[in-house]
């Protein structure tokens, strides 16, 4: 067998210079994210100039976002409470991630498609979906609850990263039909490790599908921290390998999230193909109500992130520009309380589930086998 004993000095990969002039290198440079995560607001909500050319969203949109974030947070709290009352089977909170939940959705038109994961309940509410419908699955029913086609919103997806390819496919399909709608796929940091995410980026790029991949990098995949998930300089560096324009954004800065998401959506809508956004954020609560986060993270870390709260930051900013005052603040809080009270009340009623519905939507027309099985179940129910 051959060996390399013949070779002389130890071969070493040379250090790389920074300047890049070849067409491929230039193309790559145009795809890579900004030096630092895009920010308009610092951690206290003061305006900073780290937005690298992204335009500031109009203030009315920011007020709308604020409203949705306050309502969303209250909704999220209510859901966690509902798990304790046994009204929800399980609930994955997005407390702390409201800038992404809301910013992602507000960048969309009604005819754009949206692909949420299990964590996107607040995004669904922001989309306008009835919260009881949105909670149907987590409540213990067998379907997603809302009309996925009418809302152009796929059922919340649990098999990680699988939905990102669907988003690429629907975005390409709409383009083929001459529509200028885009698709938004939510995904978590951990799920970016799945092969499907990479196939999605690749299909999206090859077919120039107008899809935005919004990675909510909340630092953990259940218990696994990002450092064990990837050695990438940042997740936004994954786009260049597919020819996908990529950006990093402070995911707790609602202004920045909206600014980048609006640009990303427009990028796709105007025919430039996919866009990858990595938003740095944090989930304040555990993975779900069933999770014990103390097993894998320090309380100090959570406290540290509480100081970067996206809701407080946006409030501070809106106050500083005169777009929010005590009266409006109180009005929004009321709105949130009404929303939560309404939800609590409606969720107190036991949902009516029809067992034989289990057979109704397996196929358009049940097979003879299913007809027989349904009959068997009916017999059993009659015998009860």
């Amino acid at each position: 067998m051959t060996t390399t004993s013949t070779r002389g000095k130890t071969p070493k990969a040379p250090a790389r210079a920074v300047a890049r002039t070849s067409p491929e290198a230039k193309a790559a440079s145009a795809l890579l994210p900004a030096e630092r995560p895009i920010r308009f607001l610092d951690e206290r909500g003061a305006r900073v100039d780290e937005h690298d050319g992204y335009g500031e969203p109009p203030v009315e949109l920011l007020v709308q976002a604020y409203r949705k974030m306050v309502v969303g947070r209250r909704f999220d709290q209510q859901c966690t409470a509902l798990t304790k009352q046994g009204r929800l089977a399980v609930y994955p909170s997005s407390h702390g991630q409201e800038a992404c939940q809301v910013g992602g959705v507000l960048a969309l038109r009604a005819d754009d498609w949206m692909f949420p994961t299990y964590r996107e309940s607040v995004a669904l509410a922001t989309r306008g979906i009835d919260p009881v419908e949105a909670l149907t699955l987590l409540r213990g029913d067998w379907h997603c609850g809302y009309d996925a086609a009418a809302w152009r919103t796929a059922p919340q997806c649990t098999p990680l990263a699988t939905q990102t390819i669907h988003a690429a496919g629907v975005a390409y399909g709409e383009k083929r039909k001459g529509n200028d709608s885009v698709a938004l796929a939510f995904i978590g940091d951990g799920a970016t490790s799945e092969g499907d995410f990479h196939e999605a980026l690749n299909f999206a790029a090859v077919f120039s599908a107008p899809v935005v991949f919004l990675v909510q990098n909340n630092g953990y995949a259940i218990s696994v921290p990002l450092a064990k998930q990837t050695k990438a300089p940042s997740l936004a560096y994954k786009g260049v390998g597919y020819g996908v324009r990529s950006e990093r954004v402070d995911g707790n800065d609602p202004v920045a999230v909206l600014a980048v998401m609006l640009a990303a959506v427009e990028h796709g809508r105007s025919g430039n193909g996919p866009f990858l956004v990595e938003a740095h954020t944090y989930r304040i609560d555990a993975h779900t109500n069933a999770d014990d986060a103390t097993r894998y993270r320090e309380a100090g870390e959570v406290e540290e992130w509480r100081t970067k709260d996206p809701v407080a930051r946006l409030a501070a900013h809106l106050r500083s520009v005169g777009a929010l005052d005590d009266a409006l603040e109180a009005q929004i809080k009321d709105e949130a309380e009404v929303y939560a009270a309404n939800l609590r009340e409606r969720m107190n009623a036991d949902p009516v589930l029809t067992p034989t519905d289990l057979f109704e939507h397996v196929y358009a027309t049940p097979t003879p086998q299913l007809v027989a099985q349904r009959a068997q179940l009916l017999e059993e129910l009659a015998a009860e």
């Binding site: 498609w113 067998w142 379907h143 997603c144 009309d147 996925a148 086609a149 009418a150 796929a154 059922p155 098999p159 699988t162 990102t164 390819i165 669907h166 988003a167 690429a168 496919g169 629907v170 975005a171 390409y172 399909g173 709409e174 083929r176 039909k177 698709a183 092969g195 499907d196 196939e199 999605a200 690749n202 299909f203 090859v206 077919f207 109704e360 939507h361 397996v362 196929y363 358009a364 097979t367 003879p368 086998q369």
Partner: protein, 339 residues
Amino acid sequence: MSTTALAAPTVTMAQALNTALRDALKDDDRVVVFGEDVGALGGVFRITDGLTRDFGEDRCFDTPLAEAGIMGFAIGMAMAGFRPVVELQFDAFAYPAFEQILSHVAKMRNRTRGAITLPIVIRVPYAGGIGGVEHHCDSSEAYYAHTPGLKVVAPSTVADAYSLLREAINDPDPVVFLEPKKLYWSKDEVSLPAATAPFGRAEVRRAGTDVTLLAYGPSMPVAMAAADAAVEDGWSVEVVDLRTINPYDDATIEASVRKTGRCVVVTEASGFAGVGAEMAARVQERCFHALAAPVLRVAGYDIPYPPPKLEHHHLPGVDRVLDTIARLQWDDVPFVGSR
């Protein structure tokens, strides 16, 4: 004038499939065909031959090499209103798409109470008998058949290949369409378009009175050949072709077995926990008191698919089927069938 019945032309199964795709592309703008090498090359088995040329890149196109990607993309396109017909190049190369197939394709209608439906056809050149090397000859039907929400089809005749593929494309639900590779070059005299019985109907391919052979797709030729050969042994063998594994036609099978009182299931796939087990279990559940003997199975061995030079030892052959028929206690047990 044209009342003279013209002899139907001789058509291969590959041609019938190609024609079915063409006719579907012609009849329905929503149909799109994609996968690996289905464009310029026309597929490694040429089933998509000329489609890109004749219908354009938009209707038939190559994708990146990623089966989960192909399947997920099909889901997305179906959500946008298309009717994707995807080719997964070989049986074993569908495995990377299993999560997409099992967790999404099979379940989307149910998860959305019918708001989102996935009229997708997953074409899989499948099974052995062509001297293929490893990973190119898997009989993977059991994985699909065991998954609620999928329909599973395996044609054995040229006319069925056409008719069932058209029906699959028109079906509102996802269909795994298993094309027995070794039958691609089988021929028949068929006028296309052909319309055969719909999904869920088995066909008696050969009538007989002594024993029923149950088979489908790649195992039909050996079942038919065994029925021919059995004549010499004095057995009149009925052969039933499932055509569609799901939906499953119990009625036709039950009628046949009640008549013959004996049944042998033939599948090329490995026997253990395969579709043949279901076939055997169902027959005895439904016809127990009409049976003179147990329902026996002739199946591939429970081994990885063997290489070209040994596959004939693995595949059920006429002798193995006849030997099994011979084991159906012809002499020492009184016949209790309802004949």
